[in-house]
Symmetry: C2
Subunit: 114 residues, 2 copies
Amino acid sequence: MSETFKSQNFQREAELAWEHADEGIERQIYGYDNRVMMVKVKFEKGAVGSVHEHPHTQVSYVESGVFEITIADEPQVLRKGDGFYVPPNTLHGALCLEAGVLIDVFSPHRADFL
Amino acid sequence: MSETFKSQNFQREAELAWEHADEGIERQIYGYDNRVMMVKVKFEKGAVGSVHEHPHTQVSYVESGVFEITIADEPQVLRKGDGFYVPPNTLHGALCLEAGVLIDVFSPHRADFL
């Protein structure tokens, strides 16, 4: 991965494309290089981020809304201002209880998102 | 760095300690392991995150407020919903124009914050 693999320095929400991620779920790609990638994920109420795993570390912030987040079979309800950490290769999923946004950050970056 | 170096899986805003970072600036530590660390940084209006650099990649999200962010001598005004990327070893700083919060993520983690 070359050092020139990276996003622009500034991201403006109004200019970033929205991508369909899953039913009721859309995302925008924020800053990234080979080490790390920030993604905004918008959920409609009732949308489900199915249980899955990946080799990346994930750290997330609840920007708005209410979510039931399950990590390694432990579910917890998180609200705006809370956060969570997903170790590499650990099953996790999200159920949106009130429409909102997660700020997900992956390390290394998600090549499958580009 | 052992694999057991990591945060709890869930972070609740109300339970996280606030640390004094600089004049008018406080922070809370969210999820982390050796690869990555998420930090919430709350600024009062007029607070200055002095220009500095570090070997970590940084990706940030403007959770609220308005900031003038300078990266490699280029200043831009960013608002809630915008974001920025700071390459490793690149001078950057922040001036808070309206009180708000940045979600800063560093890769690798900031050992100096623990």
